[in-house]
């Protein structure tokens, strides 16, 4: 079985400052890991995914995440927050070659002007 824990339910940053969203995972097998973003009243958009290739994964809109097996973590970062980054972010895990996704509880990001 696999699961994820998002360590922060809410993150508030100033525009132009770095963003860090923390995620720890648990998986019996080599996991696939994803970050999705959900803007208000919108569907989910895939930001990036890790599937056992490079441990540093670059995604859309300047986001990146680093897979650290020793720490069972997959934290999401962005060097400079933009107002449009205000949204709900979900860390998601699946077992390798298993389509079933397990979602974290989500982290709400607010960006202050």
């Amino acid at each position: 079985a696999q699961s994820v824990t998002q360590l922060d339910s809410h993150v508030s940053v100033s525009e132009g400052t770095p963003v860090l969203l923390r995620c720890n995972y648990s998986s019996s097998y080599s996991p696939s890991l994803f970050w999705y973003v959900q803007h208000p009243n919108k569907g989910l958009q895939l930001l990036l995914k890790y599937t056992s290739a490079a441990t540093l994964v670059k995604g859309i809109n300047g986001f990146e995440a680093e897979f650290k097996k020793s720490e069972t973590s997959f934290h999401l970062t962005k060097p400079s927050a933009h107002m449009s980054d205000a949204a709900e972010y979900f860390c998601v895990v699946s077992a390798f070659n298993d389509y079933k996704l397990s979602f974290g509880a989500g982290t709400t990001v607010t960006v202050r002007a």
Binding site: Y36, L44, G104, A105
Partner: protein, 114 residues
């Protein structure tokens, strides 16, 4: 990536009635799924929609309450039956192709049951 549409985008329904949600994908996909997102919550998988056979339901979800159809490789429906206010949620479908483990999501259907 697949482009997924859902209809309706939102609805307000009376308790005891049923609503059928449609999910259309712009290309043939191997897997289709239905999720529920209760207010302020994360997503929970309801079932996997299997083409040509009965859907596979997750624990806590049953076919009588959430019948699912998947007549072909690009279309699926989810019915929320005998609705109660507790069914008020966003319902999302997703799809994945045979060569990828990545799921793409539809925009969701926001359901309010009075």
């Amino acid at each position: 990536s697949a482009v997924i549409s859902q209809k309706p985008s939102r609805d307000i329904c009376q308790r005891g009635t049923s609503l059928t949600i449609q999910c259309q994908v712009d290309s043939q996909v191997t897997m289709m799924f239905w999720y529920r997102q209760q207010p302020g919550q994360s997503l929970t998988l309801i079932a996997t929609a299997n083409q040509g056979s009965e859907a596979t339901y997750e624990s806590g979800f049953v076919i009588d309450k959430f019948p699912i159809s998947r007549p072909n490789l690009t279309f699926s429906t989810l019915t929320v039956s005998n609705m109660s206010p507790e069914d008020s949620s966003i319902y999302l479908c997703s799809a994945a192709g045979a060569s990828t483990d990545t799921q793409y999501f539809g925009p969701g259907t926001r359901l309010t049951v009075l």
